[in-house]
């Protein structure tokens, strides 16, 4: 009797696990759900996956080690292509990856302000005022001080309240540096990318 009950539990558990297993990956791993950035100078998403030859040199040369590679989680075309999760490690806009990229998937952009503002479109920062310390009345301003393009990409108002400007290229240093958990400022990826020269 006991054994039968145990078997029953076992089968029930197996069925539950199978159902969960069937449902959960679709929700978690559906392409486009993950919020990731492509390296600075990357082409528009579709052109990027067509041009990239998956050689790995962009990560190898990245001094900040922010570039990772997809497995199967972002779809077949994205396997072994580079991405950046800014909260984990953000791009410092050193522009070395575009220089080393042989395939043109990451376009070479000189490390100069005008060129970066003109060509790099990784994304745009967005502030969540409900979480942001400064917008909640406690002066912070860390994102502004971390930004490599202060007063071009972001400016601060009263109580260091951050306002994102049009110049934001989406490097993600602000998101990386935000002292709130979860972060109050996030990069919304821009999939238009850089135009091919």
């Amino acid at each position: 009797m006991q054994r039968r009950a145990f078997l029953g539990d076992l089968i029930q558990g197996a069925v539950a696990a199978a159902t969960l297993g069937a449902v959960v990956p679709d929700v978690v791993a559906a392409p486009g759900v993950r919020r990731y950035l492509r390296p600075p100078g990357a082409l528009a998403e579709e052109d990027f996956t067509a041009q990239c030859i998956h050689c790995g040199q962009c990560a190898e040369i990245c001094p900040n080690r922010c570039i990772r590679y997809f497995g199967l989680e972002n779809g077949l075309a994205s396997v072994d292509t580079p991405y950046i999760i800014p909260r984990e490690q953000a791009c410092i806009l050193c522009m070395k990856c575009g220089e080393v990229c042989p395939s043109g998937a990451i376009q070479p952009v000189p490390r100069e302000m005008e060129a970066i503002l003109d060509k790099v479109h990784m994304g745009t920062a967005r502030v969540d005022k409900r979480i942001c310390l400064s917008w909640q009345g406690k002066t912070c301003g860390v994102c502004y001080r971390a930004c490599p393009l202060p007063d071009i990409a972001i400016r601060v108002g009263r109580l260091e309240q951050p306002h994102v400007l049009d110049g934001c290229v989406g490097c993600g240093i602000c998101e990386r540096s935000c002292i709130q958990i979860p972060q109050a400022i996030r990069i919304i990826p821009d999939r238009r990318g850089t135009a091919m020269s």
């Binding site: 050689c55 001094p63 075309a77 042989p102």
Partner: protein
């Protein structure tokens, strides 16, 4: 002299493989330098830092910048501003994106010219997988000594051209270069980087292990002979190569050592080289009478018949007509 070329080749392969292991470590070291992070490192990381500093300090005072000079793998590399890419990468990219990116095409120019002149030399002299495949072949010989069946299946050598064609079609269909996940020279460099710098192997390792098993249990060097899309492309490019191995029939004694040693199953003793030969010189190294040498010509010699030092020729003398084998 020529028989030592095989040792030079094995040394080259080992050096390239060692470089593929060293480069990820150097890359990690560079980021430690860039961050001035020595005091924050764990003891194992500090050992890595010290080792890399010892290796590089006589070459550079600014490793964080200067070590950028050499990056990449055998799939695509940049060496002091010179970019070199595998022709298969260029062909695959053109198929995936339906456009030609000329800087990338240029980076494959030197390999293409060398292949047209030297044939499939990449397969024998550069490919990091070749080292592992040759060790694998040696392993299968040891396994045979232990009584296991040796891999003796033969397939059609033209099968790999089919793989190349299907790979191109899949690149067009998926809009992403397909070869990067099934081509060992691309897999090995990338997976070594993943394992060393990113802490974990990707799916490529599983695929590569399967090819090793295929070679070990089914067909000797089977992947390179029958399946490799890069080998197929190189064979086509090097079909009318200038540098060929040829047999001097006057010096040959019909010992068949060259036929046995050839990893690609070609028959040097019967003048059977063709576009599959990658000039690896393994046959030269085993020839007891130095009958195999390089020759500059667009075509192989026609079948020359029994070697003049061999029993067949000595018995029948000059009456033995060439090609009667």
């Amino acid at each position: 002299m020529l028989r030592h070329l095989n040792k030079l080749r094995l040394a080259t392969l080992t050096l390239i493989f060692a470089a593929l292991i060293l480069l990820p470590f150097l890359s990690i070291y560079q980021s430690y330098r860039a961050a001035y992070a020595y005091d924050l490192l764990a003891p194992t990381e500090q050992r890595l830092y010290d080792a890399m500093e010892w290796l590089t300090e006589s070459f550079t005072n600014d490793p964080a910048e200067d070590l950028d000079a050499i990056k990449g793998t055998t799939w695509s590399a940049s060496i002091f501003d010179l970019k070199l890419s595998d022709p298969l990468a260029v062909v695959g990219q053109i198929a995936a994106g339906a456009r030609v990116y000329s800087p990338f095409l240029l980076s494959a120019l030197i390999p293409i010219i060398l292949t047209v002149l030297l044939g499939r030399f990449f397969c024998g002299w550069v490919c990091p997988a070749t080292l592992l495949y040759e060790i694998n072949s040696a392993l299968s010989r040891w396994l045979r000594a232990l009584g296991l069946r040796s891999p003796t299946r033969h397939f059609d050598l033209r099968f790999k051209y089919g793989v190349l064609a299907v790979g191109l079609l899949l690149s067009v269909a998926t809009g992403s270069i397909f070869f990067a996940i099934i081509y060992p020279p691309a897999i090995i460099g990338r997976e070594l980087y993943y394992a060393i710098a990113l802490g974990g192997f990707g799916a490529g390792t599983v695929f590569f292990a399967l090819t090793l098993l295929f070679d070990l249990l089914v067909a000797r060097r089977g992947f390179c002979r029958y399946l490799c899309p890069g080998g197929a492309l190189y064979s086509l490019l090097g079909r009318y190569r200038l540098l060929r191995i040829a047999r001097k029939v006057e010096q040959c004694n019909d010992c068949t050592k060259c036929d046995v040693v050839c990893e690609f199953g070609l028959l040097p003793m019967r003048d059977g080289f063709g576009q599959e030969c990658n000039n690896c010189t393994a046959c030269m190294a085993v020839c007891p009478t130095d009958a195999l040498a390089f020759r500059i010509a667009l075509t192989d010699l026609p079948a020359q018949g029994a070697g003049h030092l061999g029993r067949t020729h000595l018995r029948h003398g000059a009456a033995h007509t060439p090609g009667e084998n």
